[in-house]
């Protein structure tokens, strides 16, 4: 996966280059023969060339690049349906009331300092995060079989978990659903694992390819790691039903596969924290081991603060404590210890029952607004008589809808209607409002009916 190494001989014509050449020349005159020998053997030192001269410009991140393109567009009707960041009905980003309240408390409290956190992060935050995902009464927690470490949002939790597995787990294969969040394969590959896939999305039904999923998981070598989206699958919005989850769980346990959950939308999918955690909890209930990466980016609106947690449920408290000690060895050479601000806010919200309750209300409002956008878009397409079955828009769940549009249709919508989305046809429902739904519906209608 490494880019080709291209050694360029960069012409040295810039004035600063000439200055450097002159400086270097002084040394050449002193030790000419030695330098001639050195110059020919070293690929990096000739004439002060940069050792990174062979680098090529990397492509923009496909997801984050959408926002960059959107920002450049001067059109007044432009719409950003790219990155999954919540927007209000007015199209504005949202900081939750509970977050603002905690922020004020923090800034006006002179007793707060900025000391290094422990490598594993804020202890309260870790405890409360585990309770949030596993349930406060979870036997795994009661038995001290869970280790939780604060990480940099979902991405950081996945990366730390991946590197831990690459170092300590006997199996290198991790199976990702097809499709999955664009960053998953890169995270796990750089962590040192080998990425495989399992069937997930059925384009024909715009739903779950359950049979394909079961077949592929059934064929995976024993012990393989299986990445599962805990709820609100990204990018498709297609989740297994409760019955299907049960089948998946039984198969995974029977094949001794290791589940790694990515939970980026707890509370955001159905509006209920407990409901969205059900699949994870059912896996814990059977007594088996698993990993979970949690993110507070969306459900607490803390995107840029990078707040998340990695939990590993182990068979025994003894193993959990050894695992924790090894997780620290992964974290220390990556960034030493995690950032304080976001985790302190989360801990304060989770700990206080008033703040917690208020949070659940704000969370449900966000989830409900998205559900209503789904309905509005579906109705708008229906009203326009747009060809095709668009019921998947209301069947899918969470922040994203996998429209089923292809990349030509997406380009068309961007060009003609200034609608920005990822080329796989994924739209962030959170970016829609009642005012902008008609514009999107027009664009989809045009894209689908025009001969592309």
């Amino acid at each position: 996966m490494r880019p080709p190494v291209i050694f360029q001989t960069t012409p040295f014509f810039s004035s600063s280059g000439d200055r450097r050449l002159n400086t270097l020349a002084k040394h050449f005159l002193q030790t000419e023969s030695e330098n001639n020998r050195n110059m020919s053997t070293s690929p990096t030192s000739s004439h002060g060339d940069s050792v990174f001269a062979h680098l090529v410009l990397a492509p923009e991140d496909p997801i984050l690049g959408v926002t960059l393109a959107y920002n450049k567009d001067p059109s007044p009707v432009k719409l950003n349906l790219g990155v999954g960041a919540y927007r209000t009905e007015e199209g504005k980003p949202l900081v939750l009331n509970v977050v603002r309240r905690v922020e004020q408390e923090l800034v006006s409290n002179p007793a707060r300092n900025k000391e290094y956190l422990p490598i594993t992060g804020v202890a309260d935050f870790n405890k409360l995060s585990a309770q949030l995902i596993f349930g406060a009464d979870s036997p795994a927690i009661q038995e001290s079989r869970v280790t939780t470490v604060q990480c940099l949002s979902g991405t950081g939790s996945l990366r730390v978990g991946g590197e831990f597995l690459a170092k300590h787990y006997h199996q290198r294969n991790i199976y990702l659903p097809k499709p999955t969040w664009g960053n998953h394969p890169k995270v796990f590959t750089l962590a040192g694992l080998t990425v495989q896939t399992y069937r997930y999305y059925a384009p024909a039904t715009r739903g779950l390819d359950f049979q394909g999923l079961m077949e592929d998981l059934g064929a995976a070598p024993s012990g393989s790691v299986i990445l599962l989206h805990a709820c609100a699958h990204n990018p498709t919005g297609v989740d297994p039903t409760a019955e299907q989850w049960e089948e998946i769980r039984k198969l995974i346990r029977s094949k001794a596969l290791l589940p790694f959950f990515d939970s980026a939308y707890q509370g955001f999918a159905s509006g209920s924290l407990d409901k969205d955690a059900q699949p994870v909890r059912s896996f814990v209930a059977d007594g088996g081991e698993l990993l979970v990466a949690q993110s507070y980016a969306k459900n607490m609106g803390l995107y840029g603060e990078r707040v998340g947690a990695l939990s590993i449920v182990c068979k025994s408290a003894d193993v959990a404590s050894k695992v924790e000690s090894q997780l620290k060895l992964v974290i220390r050479p990556m960034y030493s210890n995690p950032p304080i601000h976001g985790a302190t806010i989360v801990a304060a919200v989770l700990k206080d029952s008033d703040l917690f309750n208020e949070w659940t209300i704000e969370l449900k409002e966000m989830a409900d607004r998205i559900i209503s956008m789904r309905q509005q878009l579906f109705d708008a397409l229906h009203a326009r008589g747009t060809p095709g079955d668009w019921s998947h828009i209301i069947k899918q769940i969470g922040m994203f809808t996998f429209t089923g549009l292809n990349s030509e249709q997406v380009s068309f919508m961007t060009r003609e209607y200034h609608i920005y989305m990822t080329s796989d046809g994924r739209i962030s429902m959170a970016g829609l409002s009642s005012k902008t739904v008609p514009h999107l519906a027009d664009a989809i209608h045009a894209a689908v009916t025009k001969a592309v």
Binding site: L55, V83, L152, E289, G304, V319, K328, S336, P339
Partner: protein, 425 residues
């Protein structure tokens, strides 16, 4: 049943298909408990100690004369301005552009031609650790056969960082135990003997853990030799402003290298000099031949950051850009960083005076010759253990003392303890 029978013998013992996973043993049961981090483990032990006399001179976090952590006034003011007014949207992968701009000005010079010519590829990083790790990963990707030369000794985590990035390490001589100063001739010899085009890790100022820095003249010679050899100089600058009290002065080594035409790499941290430890704010920069290359380098650094943490945390970056971007706040910061540096310089003098007054038979000039947060005391691991066990003084076993942990209230006690464990040495 068939599924179970088809598994290997080991798995056969482990699984019970029908109930699920209840009777399986752990996948992780063979994991060994990891050793405690040698630096951060010291503070843990300190916190657990009940003694009223305990002193923590372990981790390098500044303390005021009352032994309390400090949040700078300029930082508090910046936070007041930020709170309630900012959305918490994702930063770009490369972080806060404003913070990076200010960081480059601080390191390369306010009017640096390299900044004007846009020749620096730079991204916000997770403090110094994150900047080093990102560079190590970058080095591994684009120079997969290279190694990194690190000084002996160096910050313990440097080893872990380059190791986990897959870059083998070699060492160069640095500290001279006999003089408790710089082994300059050893250093120069090792630079000369390294294959051309090697990567060298240099501490820009206030070397950690020894506090021993090359003089300006020595830096010039190091720069010339590195130039001849075509080595790549990577600077870790965690203490700009904190060493002498003057950020411009502390950047001298870097400026010398820049004048000499080196294309450097640089890790900057705001943990100590702005007291932002837990916020994890830093900057990684690579000086390139031209703007096009700088853009390419930045884009490649982003490709490495995205699968590590996607984008860096916003809060700390906002604090830094607010402080450095406002002339009044920046002046306040310069004053406050000088206060911290001066207190430490004062503690060095006091500790040395006390030891000499106690009639210690050993030489202690190195305490005031060394610079920055740390003093390499020369204590042996056994002597360090005595310091901890008999006197409840916590430090790392290499004899490194964090001067910031000393204050007028405890310096006498610590001097006495050092004297006790060394007087028969």
């Amino acid at each position: 049943m068939a599924v179970r029978n088809s598994l290997s013998g080991q798995l056969l013992r482990r699984s019970s298909v029908v109930a699920g996973a209840r009777f399986m043993s752990s996948w992780f049961r063979s994991i060994e408990p990891a050793p405690k981090d040698p630096i951060l483990g010291v503070t843990e032990a300190f916190l657990a100690d009940q003694s009223p006399n305990k002193v923590n001179v372990g981790v390098g976090a500044y303390r005021d004369d009352n032994g309390k952590p400090v949040v700078l006034e300029c930082v508090r003011e910046a936070e007041r301005r930020i709170a309630g007014s900012q959305f918490m949207e994702y930063l770009p992968i490369g972080g806060s552009i404003k913070m990076v701009e200010e960081s480059l000005k601080l390191a390369y010079g306010e009017n640096s031609e390299f900044i004007k010519d846009k020749r620096i590829g730079a991204v916000q990083a997770l403090s110094g650790t994150g900047a080093c790790r990102l560079f190590a990963a970058f080095q591994h990707r684009f120079h997969p056969n290279s190694q990194i030369y690190i000084p002996v000794p160096t910050w313990a985590n440097h080893h872990n960082i380059w190791r986990d990035a897959g870059v083998p390490m070699k060492t160069f001589r640095y500290y001279h135990p006999e003089t408790r100063g710089l082994d300059f001739s050893g250093l120069m010899e090792d630079i000369k003997n390294a294959p051309d085009g090697s990567f060298f890790l240099l501490h820009a100022c206030a070397h950690n853990p020894t506090g021993v820095d090359p003089s300006e003249e020595q830096w010039r010679e190091i720069s010339s030799l590195i130039k001849i050899k075509g080595h790549f100089p990577f600077f870790d600058m965690a203490y700009q402003g904190f060493a002498s009290g003057d950020p411009e002065r502390d950047a001298k080594a870097i400026r010398i290298f820049l004048e000499d035409g080196h294309l450097i790499g640089l890790a900057q941290s705001y943990a100590k000099n702005m007291g932002l430890y837990g916020q994890r704010v830093g900057c990684l920069s690579v000086l390139c031949e031209d703007e096009k290359q700088a853009v390419a380098v930045k884009s490649q650094l982003q490709l490495l950051a995205r699968p590590m943490y996607s984008n860096p945390p916003v809060h700390g970056a906002l604090i830094v850009s607010t402080v450095l971007g406002d002339p009044e706040l920046k002046n306040l910061w310069l004053k406050e960083v000088k206060v911290m540096a001066d207190r430490i310089i004062g503690m060095r003098a006091t500790l040395r005076e006390n030891l000499e007054k106690l009639g210690s038979p050993l030489p202690w000039q190195h305490i005031t010759n060394q610079i920055g947060m740390f003093c390499y005391s020369g204590l042996t691991p056994e002597q360090v253990d005595r310091m901890t066990n008999e006197f409840h003084i916590y430090m790392t076993r290499n004899g490194r003392i964090s001067m910031a942990g000393l204050n007028t209230g405890n310096v006498g006690y610590v001097a006495n303890a050092i004297h006790e464990v060394t007087k028969s040495a």
